[in-house]
């Protein structure tokens, strides 16, 4: 029997029909749902971090503007006094700032993340 006897379209049907019966080609049940949940969590986390950074940028930007106005009104000596104050009390100030950052991250990212996951999306 010559291989050319088997027509190409018959071979196509044979291959396709055989592949249709291959169990391994059927995707594992629940696998896509697992992946979707993972991607949703990533998307949510990304969203929360971006929101936090925007808020932080807004706050810092506002403080810089305020400081600029303050210095403009009161002269550069105020800037030196402020610098001396921060330099002398750097450990207390940095501790308070660090605490503020940690609390903000916990509130704005971590708690929001679990609240949204458990309670559904807010948007």
């Amino acid at each position: 029997m010559n291989s050319e006897s088997m027509e190409n379209n018959e071979l196509d049907d044979l291959i396709r029909n055989a592949l249709l019966t291959k169990d391994d080609l059927k995707i594992v049940s629940g696998l896509s749902d697992k992946v979707i949940k993972k991607l949703e969590k990533r998307a949510l986390l990304r969203e929360l971090v971006v929101n936090l950074l925007m808020k932080a940028g807004l706050v810092i930007g506002s403080l810089v503007v305020l400081l600029g106005v303050f210095i403009w009104l009161n002269g550069e000596e105020v800037l030196l006094k402020l610098y001396d104050y921060f330099y002398l009390n750097w450990n207390i100030i940095s501790s308070i700032l660090l605490l503020l950052v940690i609390v903000t991250i916990i509130d704005q990212v971590i708690l929001q993340f679990y609240k949204t996951l458990n309670g559904g999306y807010k948007y």
Binding site: M6, N17, A18
Partner: protein, 189 residues
């Protein structure tokens, strides 16, 4: 929904769009993984890794190709890396003639009473014995109905090479089946 809109909605965090992205491409990705590395303990991890990489790289996706072919190419790339990691690079391309000799060409079974499912099983066994590039391309072409152009984009091969490999793979399959199943035309008819 077109690819551009889908990606835009995903970037906005739309939950339904993420689900759509995965569900629309789950079969293509799974078929690539199974045809390249088979079903093993790593298949599911690789499947997840593909979509994580897709999600990460959506920002870099250029709309000059279809989203499905880009996702397929990510899956293909990850599978190639996996095969290289487990040092099966030799399986990616082997010599045709040597490979045909290795396969069991001498068995001549009386298939007259063969059931269709036995024939299907025989075809699947033969496909699984083909070199990984041939069986991947055959699966994409025959099962996922991908065009030569789409397969070329997924596998990063020239379209001519894809066509040649598919024809070669089919020729190998045909030769083996006809050698092992002399009455195959009767069985199929």
């Amino acid at each position: 929904m077109d690819d551009k809109t889908l990606i835009k909605k995903i970037k906005e965090g739309d939950r339904n769009s993420i689900r759509l992205l995965v569900e629309n491409h789950e079969n293509l990705v799974w078929h690539i993984i199974i045809s390249m590395i088979g079903r093993n303990i790593d298949s599911e991890d690789i499947y997840q890794e593909v979509f994580l990489q897709v999600f990460k790289g959506l920002g870099n996706f250029r709309a000059d190709s279809r989203l499905s072919t880009w996702i397929g190419s990510v899956a293909h790339h990850i599978c190639v890396d996996y095969l290289r990691k487990i040092k099966k690079e030799r399986e990616i391309v082997t010599q045709d003639s040597e490979h045909i000799k290795e396969l069991n060409m001498s068995t001549n079974i009386n298939w007259k009473q063969i059931e269709e499912e036995d024939l299907n099983r025989k075809v699947l066994e033969t496909i699984s014995e083909l070199p990984v590039v041939y069986r991947t391309l055959i699966t994409l072409y025959h099962f996922d109905d991908c065009s030569y152009k789409e397969i070329a984009e997924i596998t990063n091969m020239p379209e001519g090479t894809v066509k040649s490999y598919i024809n070669r793979g089919r020729a190998m399959l045909k030769e083996i089946l006809v050698a092992q199943v002399p009455d195959i035309n009767e069985i199929m008819n």
